[in-house]
């Protein structure tokens, strides 16, 4: 009898001890991403960025073990993201929520982050407004106006383009891109000849491209989501003779990501893009990152999603170090404000006022380097902030 009681007691104690120990040590990060559906590739690349950072830096920070819990939203679904955030906070009792490839996901979860007082790390969703939706949001990716406002200015002042036509995908990020490029471009003195919007899931661009050709502009500015569309629109442009040097093609960096470049081949030469991450940028930190990423992912190259996830994890690790493992939302966000580090993309900083990222914007041109077409940086604009924050 006594033996049994002792055994039970011992067991109970052991379990209780284990429970408290793990409660103290394990730190849960809930990652909300569209792991399935049409944006699964984005989620995959972002997750690979997270995984790479953790495999390089260990899964223990400030004496606490980091555990990742994934939640799938299936696509740009605000309700699904809100539900996922709620479950993570209430049932899984996570300390930090992160991920968010798409703007609707981030907007859906923002309220939960505020109510629960958890730091929310936005690793991609690139609409300007996202960080204004909760004081607990910190962004480690990019904003579309950040890239395109500066690009519009550059196109007129240094690119020598006097008039342009814009062609963007008909959804939030596309509208943002159109507005911010046009603003930068016209403020500098340029003229927009016309603008069209294409459906988000558009299989064939020939009609729109023909409209651009009819307007006969000096340059065409393009924004399409990554995936199949960059190569499709690039080829449609060139088939119409809308190609450098006759007509300049300006775009956000998705247009010339590695798969699209491979598919477009020679026709991509001379396309000018604006981006915050350039795979080919020759920098020891970046070279090491690209090599390690390829090794972990069957030779695949990292993209904008990967770097958002990678730097997002860096931010989580560093803020935890700064708070000595205190995962309270306020403490972490406070620690994140003004934090600066050297990322594979270049120097970055979290703006203490807007909690948004401040970084270098690279203007690149597709050129042949060592017999291979790639995005060669022709101009860098350091320390660019989102131009829209505080504007409204």
């Amino acid at each position: 009898m006594l033996k049994k009681i002792t055994a039970a007691l011992a067991l109970g104690l052991a379990l209780g001890w284990a429970a408290t120990a793990s409660a103290q040590e394990t730190l849960k990060v809930g990652v909300i991403l569209p792991y399935s559906g049409p944006f699964a590739d984005a989620a995959n690349q972002l997750q690979a960025g997270i995984d790479l950072y953790m495999s390089q830096n260990g899964d223990e920070v400030a004496g606490r073990k980091i555990e990742i819990i994934r939640k799938d939203t299936g696509g740009p679904n605000a309700d699904a993201a809100q539900r996922a955030a709620q479950e993570l906070v209430v049932r899984d009792q996570v300390d930090i929520i992160a991920g968010f490839a798409l703007t609707p996901e981030a907007l859906g979860a923002a309220e939960i982050a505020t109510e629960a007082g958890k730091m929310m790390v936005v690793m991609n969703a690139a609409t300007s407004i996202v960080t204004e939706r909760s004081p607990f949001i910190v962004r480690t990716s990019v904003t579309i106006p950040q890239l395109n406002y500066a690009f519009g200015k550059w196109a007129f002042e240094e690119g020598g383009v006097k008039q342009a036509y814009t062609l963007v995908a008909d959804y939030g990020p596309g509208h943002d891109a159109e507005a911010s490029f046009s603003k930068g471009f016209t403020e500098a003195g340029g003229e927009i000849l016309g603008s069209d919007r294409t459906p988000v899931a558009n299989p064939d661009f020939s009609a729109y491209v023909q409209r651009v050709r009819d307007a006969n502009p000096e340059a065409v500015y393009i924004f399409v989501p990554g995936g199949a569309q960059p190569a499709a629109i690039g080829k449609a442009l060139v088939d119409r003779g809308l190609a450098p040097p006759d007509v300049k093609i300006l775009a956000q960096g998705e247009l010339t990501h590695p798969e699209a470049l491979e598919s477009m081949g020679e026709t991509a030469r001379g396309i000018i893009t604006t981006f915050h991450y350039t795979l080919e940028r020759d920098d020891p930190l970046n070279n090491e990152y690209v090599a390690a990423y390829g090794e972990a992912n069957n030779g695949r190259a990292p993209d904008l999603f990967s770097i958002g996830g990678y730097d997002g994890m860096h931010l989580i690790y560093e803020t935890l170090k700064k708070t000595n493992g205190d995962a309270g939302g306020e403490a972490l966000v406070e620690a994140a404000k003004g934090m600066a580090w050297d990322s594979p993309r270049g120097p970055v900083m979290i703006d203490p006022e807007t909690r948004d990222i401040v970084q270098t914007v690279y203007i690149r041109e597709v050129q042949e380097v060592d017999g291979k077409l790639q995005n060669a940086i022709i101009h860098s604009i350091p320390d660019v902030k989102d131009p829209l924050h505080g504007a409204n």
Binding site: A40, D41, P203, A207, D214, A228, D239, G241, E262, R300
Partner: protein, 286 residues
């Protein structure tokens, strides 16, 4: 004037791609009354076969097209013999649920095998770029698409009208019971037709990579277009599929060109309009 010519040309080329992707479904639907929503998945299979053949084995592009056809046809025969035939007599809901489930499975298999990324292919030089005719630039690959589609129309038409198998297929479509009564092996005809239809989808998938890309969501992505072509054209009619696909392609491109604000919407209006006037489709019999 030149603009209209080029819009017609582009629309026709896109329509021809849709035709190759959907003609098989139209025939199997008309023939067997079997609602195969997994048709696009066979197209995806053809696409991946082409990518694999070009990358791993260095096949030239043209040679991968018959390979894509054969692979899709073979896999479809296996699936037809083991799975699909069990559902021929089942209700429509069961067929829809089963085949849409199959698309999910295909998507998962493609994701597992090839990853979620886009699979670009590099076409031979003679298929790239454009030619200038009378001051207008026409894409070479689009010419190629139209030629291939016309060849297929000719082959399918000849096959259906002039061969023994074609006569048997037509007989089975028109009246299955009588066809069976006079001693035709309708089940075998089903299997062969199914394989040919799926093979054409595979070929369509291979041809589509250059225009619309290839990733694991291909099977879903094209389902809507394919179903519109079949509905507009009428079940079981090759000519109907051809007319429906051409109309859809040209309507889509012309709508986007002349009325970009509502352009992407126009084909659905067209669909509703046509079905209101002709509920069986342009060339539908039943």
């Amino acid at each position: 004037m030149g603009n209209i010519a080029i819009v017609l040309f582009d629309g026709l080329a896109f329509g021809m791609l849709l035709f190759v992707l959907s003609v098989g479904l139209s025939v199997t639907l008309g023939l067997m009354n079997f609602i195969n929503l997994a048709h696009g998945a066979f197209g995806m299979l053809g696409g991946y076969v082409t990518v694999l053949a070009m990358r791993q084995f260095g096949f030239p592009f043209l040679l991968t097209l018959p390979a894509a056809f054969l692979a899709a046809a073979l896999v479809s025969v296996v699936l037809e013999r083991t799975l699909f035939r069990r559902l021929y007599r089942a209700g429509e809901l069961n067929q829809v649920l089963f085949t849409i489930g199959l698309v999910f499975v295909a998507t998962a298999v493609a994701t597992y095998t090839f990853g979620t990324g886009q699979q670009p292919i590099i076409l031979p030089d003679w298929l790239r770029g454009s030619v200038e005719i009378a001051g207008m630039r026409f894409g070479v690959y689009r010419f190629f698409l139209i030629v291939v589609a016309l060849l297929i129309v000719a082959l399918v038409h000849f096959g259906l009208e002039r061969t023994r198998l074609g006569a048997q297929i037509r007989a089975s479509v028109d009246n299955q019971r009588v066809a069976q009564g006079i001693g035709l092996d309708v089940e075998r005809i089903f299997a062969v037709t199914f394989a040919l239809g799926s093979g054409l989808a595979g070929l369509g998938g291979a041809l589509a990579i250059e225009i619309v890309g290839l990733d694991p969501s291909f099977g879903f992505h094209f389902l809507v277009y394919v179903l519109i072509v079949v509905a507009v054209g009428g079940l079981g009619s090759v000519a109907g599929s051809f007319a429906g696909a051409a109309l859809l392609g040209i309507g889509d491109v012309a709508g986007k060109y002349f009325l970009p604000e509502i352009g992407s919407f126009l084909i659905y209006l067209l669909l509703v309009g046509i079905l209101l006037v002709r509920p069986m489709g342009l060339f539908g019999k039943r």
